[in-house]
């Protein structure tokens, strides 16, 4: 049986006016808010807990559980911070959501803030996407004018202000504590934990930090209920996911489907591989997760199945590469990214990304040495689990996972450059047109 697509967040994306308040309301928007404001905040937390929604930012932490860590009645202000700093290579789901359906995010923000008793919410958007920033700012403005944000929302007595903040171009600011530092006006570097943000986050106050897609799920869960949500996905990975498929497929794009759909099915929805091409390797969720090959195409895309296969669902944005791609080159590009984006705070990540990249670039040019393959393995081991935050762990991921399946390519790269092994032009999207 083929798993059907289940557009929920993306259901009405063909409406040109969905980004407006009227457009969103026309498809039932802000009904969940009425329901939420009429209920006990604790019940909303329980609902989200029962629904089993897991964080869509990559780590998959249970959202309701996260909310329940916020101490209530502590007399401190609480904050909701939406992590919209989508910068993971290959990830392209939060920005489309903010572009096409920003009010789902806003409605989720209002409901979540109500649930965790926050009167101040921040949406921290990646600075490089001003169009998304403008869309969300416009949505916030409309919501404020409609009395959905502000004092005494819809007569409920609940006050909320929402601030849209644009980042300044650092991948590290997607790390939640670095994001908080950045939001407070400091240099974005991760904070020492504990204390955890739920206890002492933004301005040392209890703070929930959630991904855009996570928050955009909330109105639908509140509106349609736990049973409905759990009707999708698996026991441990309930619900649906905005999968963003990219790479050598015919129709790269956004496919919202239940968790548990297989990559092969997603590939079919994406029109299959481009003509004459086959899957060489793919990554389920951004460059920070270990790669898989064509033998893994029938695994269900769930948090648990991906973990069992030695990788992670991550952001749920599969990147698919065909046989024209040099894995050595791909890994080198990723490490160059991590080197560029390492914040510099801890030694393993700062030095590791720098020196690993240097060695990888030698392999890319066919000048690697046999012994250096082991050195690279060692260096990755010296970063993984040793760095201050997950950026280091992510940087230590591509090489070992590439070696697991494609060690012979690195062997070859001790004498032959990546471009000699794989014609770079052949991997381009215009290769089929014979353009050179």
């Amino acid at each position: 049986m083929v798993t059907p697509l289940t557009p929920v967040i993306t259901e009405h994306w063909d409406r040109p006016d969905l980004y407006t308040l009227d457009g969103y309301r026309a498809v039932g928007g802000y009904q969940a808010l009425d329901k939420a404001l009429g209920s006990d905040p604790d019940d909303i937390i329980t609902t989200v807990k029962d629904a089993g929604l897991r964080g869509r930012g990559g780590a998959g932490f249970p959202t309701g559980l996260k909310w329940s860590f916020v101490p209530q009645g502590d007399g401190k202000p609480h904050y909701l911070v939406v992590n919209a700093d989508e910068s993971e290579p290959g990830a392209c789901k939060d920005i489309p959501i903010m572009m096409a359906n920003p009010h789902a995010l806003i409605e989720g923000v209002i409901i979540t803030s109500f649930a965790i008793r926050a009167n101040h919410a921040f949406i921290y958007i990646r600075g490089e996407v001003p169009n998304a920033v403008r869309k969300v700012e416009f949505a916030v403005k409309q919501a404020r004018e409609a009395g959905l944000i502000g004092k005494n929302i819809k007569g409920s007595g609940f006050d909320l202000d929402v601030v849209v903040h644009s980042g300044a171009g650092a991948y590290i600011c997607g790390e939640e504590t670095a994001l908080l530092d950045s939001l407070e006006g400091y240099r974005g570097q991760p904070r020492l934990k504990p204390p955890f943000p739920a206890v002492a986050g933004l301005y040392s106050s209890p703070t929930v930090i959630n991904n855009v897609e996570t928050i955009a799920n909330i109105p639908y869960i509140v509106d349609r209920g736990v049973e409905w949500f759990r009707g999708f996905g698996t026991e441990k990975s309930p619900g649906f996911k905005v999968f963003a498929v990219s790479g050598h497929v015919k129709r790269p794009g956004i496919y919202e489907a239940p968790l548990g759909i297989t990559m092969r099915e997603l590939l079919d929805y994406a029109g299959g591989m481009r003509d004459g091409s086959s899957v060489k390797f793919w990554l389920p969720g951004g460059s920070s997760v270990p790669m898989l090959t064509d033998e893994h195409l029938d695994l269900p895309l769930t948090y648990e199945a991906m973990a069992e296969a030695g990788t992670m669902l991550g952001t749920g944005t599969p990147m698919v590469f065909d046989q024209t791609v040099s894995v050595v080159k791909a890994v080198t590009r990723w490490l160059e990214f991590y080197k560029h984006e390492s914040c510099g705070k801890c030694t393993p990540c700062r030095e590791g990304t720098y020196w690993i990249t240097g060695v990888l670039e030698k392999f890319e040019h066919g000048q690697g040495q046999q012994a250096e393959m082991e050195t690279l393995t060692d260096l990755c081991g010296q970063i993984a689990g040793r760095s201050f935050c997950a950026l280091g762990d992510a940087a230590a991921t591509p090489y070992p996972s590439a070696m697991k399946y494609f060690s012979e390519e690195f062997e070859t790269s001790t004498h032959t450059s990546a471009d000699e092994q794989f014609d770079p032009i052949a991997s381009y999207v215009f290769a089929a047109a014979g353009v050179r």
């Binding site: 030694t347 990304t353 060695v359 040793r386 201050f388």
Partner: protein, 795 residues
């Protein structure tokens, strides 16, 4: 701490302790202890760079990774708090920990230049040392290292070699957390991360030198010491700082009879591990401009003389004047030297005309010191400041006048100590202590104390509250009386914080008219008896209460005295012209180490040792003895006490000359337990005249003679500006910026005006002794006096 050899053995049942097992050895430590500290208690040394016991953990360098049972990933020992029953495995018992540490060390060394042979840190470098224990013998990399332009100045004194930096953030955390001068920051990101400052904002901190000392590599060096010596060629001597009354423990390093550097020494009760830049860098004066030989004046000119001749001439002249001699002891004397002056005055000269206060002083201050301070045991200590619920400053600016008091109170303020300052403006130091300004017109602190808001009185009633009085109370008539009354009313402790390192010791040693050693009133028969016994003289031979302060100087000027014995006094420190006053006597003996205005008019100049050439003791503001040893054992110059003993010898009066003899004699005299002078000074009022009132004090780094010869240090001094409120400037038709002239009774000072709206109206502030602003000399007025301020520079 309890150590047992058997894991899980019965441990101390104290509830505040938790038991943690490190490498199989159980230790119980206070809850909240970091794993790295617990391991230290067992003698297990975990590698570390960013960790510093006095800084908040940052866990950035990752050198201290250890394994904790039940935790999947290795954890930084410097940030991990122990929990009861925690099983910690360090590199000694865990391959995971060892490999993690070795991995981090490889990373740290990858980009580190191999310039140890020319690096200042080489030989005392934590990176070098730990590379020996944890590092790989050979690098696996041949690729080029990242390089930076080197060195760059983060201040005039502190230089940065960025390629040596391991980004441990000790310096930036010190600047931010300890000194409160957060101009030093980490800039850029990733492999380009570097320490630096904003272009127009250098690391302007009185405490900058500490960053050099805590840098675990050779990235931060001082302009003064850079390339001057190798640590293993240096001889180190523990010393105490002579610059102020904070009482820092120092380590003085020298090579070939030349001091190369001074470091803050670890003294948890006093300076913790810090000191100020003056104490660290200002030592060249000891090696420059010294008086080499005794000199006597002949036909109006000083000429070099032999010691026997000079001593003979001096003894003859002083003998002739006898009890008509005044003794001026500078505030920089050691306790032993001050005691020798006090003894010499009473025993050899038979005079009580003695004063150590080479600065503005008052009779009220003398009476306050005699009644409440002299010879008293330590009543307020640094630890008390740290625990104090509230501290009130009266005419006291600790960042400039006692920097370690400032550091300790800054630390205290972070944990709840409320700091109040009676003053004319909220200084940078006060804001760094989160302090509150209580407006007080300079010189009129007494009325501000009398009108103190009720909530501050209430705060001072809390047990442990402290009132701290600075040296400027002497320029604020009635302030001592009001402060004593406030202390009695609220129960707050009183602390007097002089500026000079020797003042408290000189006071206790009896170098003040009316006071014999230990605060003994000179007109008390038991006090006279005890002193006379210790000195081997008849009590009746001791003089009765003599003159001090202004009365003493007036008696000199008027010719009522015939001779003066002046020891280590800087004439410019007096509000009035000391040289003119000394002109009223026939015979001046100057005991000095540097040429000065006094040596310029002295009849006999006897050169003496500086602190590096003698042993001695300072009493810090707490009253805590700060003994120090002799750095240069073969020094040719002797202490003031030894020179005074030679003079006494001329008259067949024996006097102790060595530090051990002097200390023994003071010890035999013991503390004074009899009645103290009562404190009932005559009421005085301040009549400053009309106009703008002058607030002024000496900045930490200024034109002080002991800072001479240190251009790099001098360049970090704060710029000379005048400060006043915008309203005052407007009322007097002054521009919001640009030059103004401040006019006193004898001249004017032209400096740039800086508007400071924290300042109260009709007050202008000037640094007392900075470049372009020597208040006493140029204006002829002092703290609290009236001045006139005009637009523009002075023609």
């Amino acid at each position: 701490m309890t150590i047992t050899n058997e894991p899980g053995a019965e441990l101390d049942a104290r509830p505040d302790l938790v038991s943690v097992i490190v490498d199989g050895v159980a230790v119980s430590v206070p809850a909240g202890t970091l794993v790295i500290r617990a391991a230290e208690m067992l003698g297990i040394e975990i590698p570390r760079f960013c960790d510093h016991p006095l800084l908040d953990p940052v866990a950035a360098c990752r050198a201290c990774l250890i394994e904790i049972d039940g935790v999947p990933k290795p954890q930084p020992a410097c940030a991990q708090v122990v929990s009861d029953g925690m099983q910690v495995r360090t590199q000694l018992s865990s391959d995971v920990a060892r490999e993690a540490q070795e991995g981090v060390m490889e990373f740290l060394l990858l980009n580190h230049p191999l310039d140890c042979p020319v690096c200042d840190k080489g030989g005392e470098c934590p990176l070098q040392n730990q590379a020996m224990s944890v590092g790989r013998p050979e690098s696996r990399f041949t690729e080029g290292k990242r390089t930076f332009e080197k060195p760059i100045n983060v201040s005039a004194q502190v230089l940065l070699d960025r390629e040596r930096c391991v980004s441990c953030a000790r310096c930036t955390r010190f600047a931010d957390q300890i000194a409160g001068d957060s101009m030093l920051e980490l800039l850029e990101r990733g492999a380009q991360q570097q320490v630096g400052t904003a272009d127009d904002e250098p690391f302007d901190s009185y405490f900058s030198g500490n960053t050099i000392q805590i840098c675990p590599v050779g990235a931060l060096t001082s302009a003064t010491y850079r390339f001057r010596a190798r640590p293993f060629d240096l001889v180190s001597v523990p010393t105490s700082c002579e610059h102020c009354a904070s009482g820092c423990s120092l380590r003085t390093d020298y090579r070939r009879s030349t001091i190369t550097r001074r470091l803050a020494w670890d003294d948890p009760q006093v300076n913790e591990e810090w000191n100020c830049d003056k104490g660290r860098f200002a030592f060249s004066y000891m090696q420059q401009g010294r008086i080499e030989w005794p000199m006597v004046r002949e036909d109006g000119e000083l000429r070099i003389a032999s010691w026997p001749e000079a001593i003979g001439v001096a003894a003859q002249g002083l003998r002739a004047a006898g009890s008509d001699t005044a003794v001026l002891v500078g505030g920089r004397s050691t306790v032993e030297d001050a005691y020798a002056y006090a003894r010499f005055a009473r025993v050899a000269l038979g005079t009580d005309d003695i004063d150590f206060r080479a600065r503005a002083s008052s009779d009220e201050e003398r009476d306050f010191l005699a009644a409440h301070v002299a010879g008293s045991p330590m009543r307020v200590e640094y630890a008390d400041l740290e625990a104090a619920p509230a501290v009130l400053f009266v005419a006291f600016e600790p960042e400039d006048e006692s920097p370690i008091v400032f550091l300790r109170l800054r630390k205290a303020s972070a944990s709840g100590t409320q700091v109040f300052s009676l003053g004319s403006g909220a200084s940078r130091g006060l804001s760094k202590m989160n302090g509150t300004l209580i407006p007080a017109t300079p010189g009129d602190e007494a009325s501000a104390l009398a009108d103190l808001p009720a909530e501050i009185r209430e705060a001072l009633r809390a047990p442990g509250a402290v009132i701290m009085m600075g040296e400027r109370v002497a320029s604020a008539p009635g302030a001592c009386v009001a402060a004593v009354a406030l202390a009695q009313e609220t129960g707050a402790a009183l602390a007097w914080v002089p500026r000079r390192a020797g003042e408290r010791g000189a006071l206790d040693a009896g170098a003040l008219a009316g006071l014999l050693p230990g605060g003994r009133p000179i007109d008390d028969s038991l006090a006279r008896q005890q002193s006379a016994d210790a000195w081997g003289v008849d009590p009746s031979s001791l003089p009765h209460r003599g003159l001090s302060g202004d009365a003493l100087l007036t008696s000199l000027r008027s010719g009522a005295r015939r001779a003066a014995l002046v020891g280590g006094v800087e004439a410019a420190d007096y509000p009035d012209d000391l040289v003119a006053s000394l002109g009223g006597v026939d015979f001046v003996v100057s005991i000095e180490n540097h040429h000065s205005a006094v040596t310029g008019i002295a009849d006999v100049v006897l050169p003496v040792a500086v602190v590096s050439e003698k042993a001695g003791t300072f009493l810090d503001w707490e009253g805590r003895p700060r003994p120090f040893g002799q750095v240069f054992r073969d020094a040719i110059r002797d202490s003031d006490a030894a020179v005074l003993a030679m003079l006494a010898e001329e008259w067949q009066i024996s006097a102790p000359s060595s530090v051990s003899e002097l200390r023994a004699e003071v010890g035999r005299m013991g503390p004074w337990t009899g009645a103290r002078e009562s404190f009932a000074p005559a009421a005085t009022t301040h009549a400053p005249g009309t106009g703008i009132r002058l607030a002024t004090w000496r900045q930490l780094l200024d034109l002080g003679v002991m800072q001479e010869g240190e251009p790099h240090l001098a360049a970090t001094a704060r710029a000379t500006v005048a400060r006043m409120s915008g309203a005052t400037a407007a009322r007097h038709g002054l521009p919001a910026s640009g030059q103004v002239s401040i006019h006193g009774s004898s001249g004017a000072i032209s400096v740039d005006l800086e508007i400071d709206d924290s300042m109260i109206d009709d007050v202008v502030w000037l640094p007392m002794n900075s470049e372009g602003s020597r208040v006493y000399r140029d204006l002829g007025v002092g703290y609290g006096d009236a001045v006139r301020v005009t637009r523009g520079g002075q023609a």
